[in-house]
Assembly symmetry: C2
Homo-oligomer: 365 residues x 2
DNA sequence: CGATTTAGCTGAAACGATTCAGTGCGGTCG
DNA sequence: CGACCGCACTGAATCGTTTCAGCTAAATCG
């Protein structure tokens, strides 16, 4: 199929077609947008000329400007762009959003976070979208601030209400509590926690009491509280029994580092609770390499229940969270706002402990 | 941080700020785009008023219209939108693109393929992007046609030159040949192939000679040729020794179906060559459930070398292809075009057979 | 000191479409 | 037969920016 080559200079516009046919641009526009407003015959001729001139339909930008909408929804998160495809949990979440969004024919714009000074400004301010789904972890995150400034319909993820925006969350503290309770039930008393960054300006390492209390990351906070609740339930003091290591990245590599640090302590923790499977997998890697048998000598619990958790050896005990559903709800909430339909202002989804092979009774109990 | 609430009606524009300050809109525009064109003092005042009015910077759409660019690149592929996040090979590929694109601060627009009549038209024509990366499998694909009509810089993936567009491919036939040769070397003589759809209008099932010859899917074709080359090399006739099953989907479920059909034949194939790991994993599932020992009774070879291949049991013998690099090159080629920099017109990446545990000598040889 | 440059700002024309209030006009209704 | 209606189409305003060719006044030069 030849696509046309006649006017090598400028791209054809509505007006070109209009003048070519001696009709008004409004009519040509109608041919594309309101077929019922003109005679089928003329419409046919318009398309014919359009094809001949290599006109691919109304320019998205011009149409968007005039109509005030763009047909895409924006996804904003703290991590690098490629993280969307490399992190299993993020992928599942996005898959959920995609499912909802594709039905409406909207596109999904992943906004990037270039390394510059004010990264958020550039990319977020210039994203041509009808609304945002924001995944970030503190209310004062500049990313979130930039999104709010756009004053577009927005859905928050993993972060409770702010500026009365709708949001989707999971039962972080419940899941964490279940995880901790599980290892406590197995007799463990010295615990290590592999935590996310507790504040935006985190550095990797053991987080002391003061640091823990400074936590602004709402997800990390909820999970720490959940773990703590389980300790309290059996009358144990948090700071006496658990050490927290703050991880910067969200990868097995970071998990290995954390494991090394946590397991170097005396007395050594007998159970490690990770805030993500990626971190927990790193623990498994470290244990294997350090000759520590899991679960005989060390119990490990993850969070997320990503596919890799079940495939790991030993299979990882972890906390399931409905990533895909979380994405679907985020998509649904946003689409509902865009369409002006009523929708819940908040959705909270359950978590569930999945016991596999990486946890066992503490030796000698 | 309060974001402003004064004018609940309309969103502030450049002009609002301009009149508020008694300056020209051009000056306000310059404040954002050409800081050197006005005094720092005035610039400061402009930002101040902007903040007060809740102005988040120039409207992306208007700016895009005027400037003729949008700051995003579009990804088009044949599958559903969510496939980008659910298929491991696709994810890796997109991860590669993302890596390249994020550095430039561009966004990534995944264009969806709504279920309607002329799906491509709607979404592709209205995507506000500066260029496209297209992953499709036949030159006459309406998707590709629609993209071409847009006359934007475009990079093709897995599909060789068309309309002299730059493209990125892998050595499909070489990889396939290596896979087939591997099982032939092991003594296998009855082979089954789990192929992608050979033409757009495919139906699942055994593909007879005529159907095979009708193949328009360039990737499938190259791989079939590669398998064939290995057969020829040892003097075997293709149609006599191999059965091809055409799979519609790209999932383990489809692989199970295909395995069931191929293994029902008499004499039964002793080796199955799948065009993707997802399909091969389906074969493994089927074999396990049917009580067929792999590799003792059946050898299986995949394609892609996705992470799951190494984790499967038995670990899957497969053909490695550099998904991430493929994505990076696609991104690089497109960005180069957008910037008017010189770049290769075509990139072809190598494949490599990875022998694991799912292949073994044919019983009795 | 007059001529020339420069900084800082203005006015208005695009950019490519959509939309809304008409305008003729052939046909229908009572 | 006149009033009325709906069809098919037109004109012009508008969406929010960017950009380019000035323009003015102050600064610089010889």
């Amino acid at each position: 199929m030849k696509v046309n080559t006649d006017p090598p200079k400028r791209r054809a516009t509505l007006k070109d077609i209009a003048t070519e046919l001696g009709v008004a641009t409004a009519t040509v526009s109608n041919a594309y947008n309101r077929p019922d407003q003109l005679s089928p015959a003329l419409r046919e001729r318009i398309f014919e000329v359009a094809a001949r001139l290599g006109y691919a339909g109304p320019d998205p930008m011009a149409r968007g400007l005039r109509r005030g909408q763009s047909g895409a929804i924006g996804i904003v998160h703290r991590e690098r762009l490629s993280y969307a495809f490399s992190d299993p949990a993020a992928s599942l979440f996005l898959q959920g959003i995609a499912r909802e969004v594709e039905a409406g024919g909207q596109g999904l714009l992943l906004v990037s976070r270039p390394p510059g000074q004010e990264p958020e400004l550039a990319a977020i301010n210039s994203a041509a979208v009808d609304g945002f789904v924001v995944h970030c972890l503190t209310a004062d995150d500049p990313l979130l601030q930039a999104v709010l400034r756009r004053q577009l319909p927005t859905v928050l993820v993993d972060q409770p209400g702010f500026d009365d925006l709708p949001y989707v969350m999971i039962d972080d503290s419940g899941g964490a509590r279940a995880a901790a309770q599980h290892v406590l039930d197995l007799g463990h008393r010295r615990l290590g926690v592999l935590a996310f960054r507790l504040t935006p300006d985190a550095t990797a390492g053991i987080a002391d009491r003061q640091r823990q209390e400074a936590t602004t990351n709402v997800v990390a906070l909820a999970r720490l509280r959940g773990y703590d609740a389980a300790l309290r339930a059996v009358g144990l003091d948090w700071h006496e029994h658990v050490t927290v290591y703050e991880c910067l990245e969200h990868t097995p590599a970071a998990g290995r580092l954390a494991a090394a640090a946590l397991l170097a302590a005396h007395p050594r923790p007998t159970a490690l609770l990770a805030m993500s499977d990626q971190l927990a997998l790193g623990v498994l890697e470290y244990a294997a390499q350090a000759g520590l048998a899991v679960p005989a000598q060390l119990s490990v619990v993850g969070f997320d229940d990503t596919p890799a958790a079940a495939l790991a050896s030993p299979a990882l005990t972890t906390v399931y969270q409905p990533h895909v559903d979380k994405g679907r709800w985020a998509g649904r909430l946003l689409l509902a706002r865009l369409r002006g339909e009523p929708s819940p202002g908040a959705v909270s989804l359950p978590t569930r402990l999945v016991v596999r092979e990486s946890t066992a009774a503490v030796p000698g109990v």
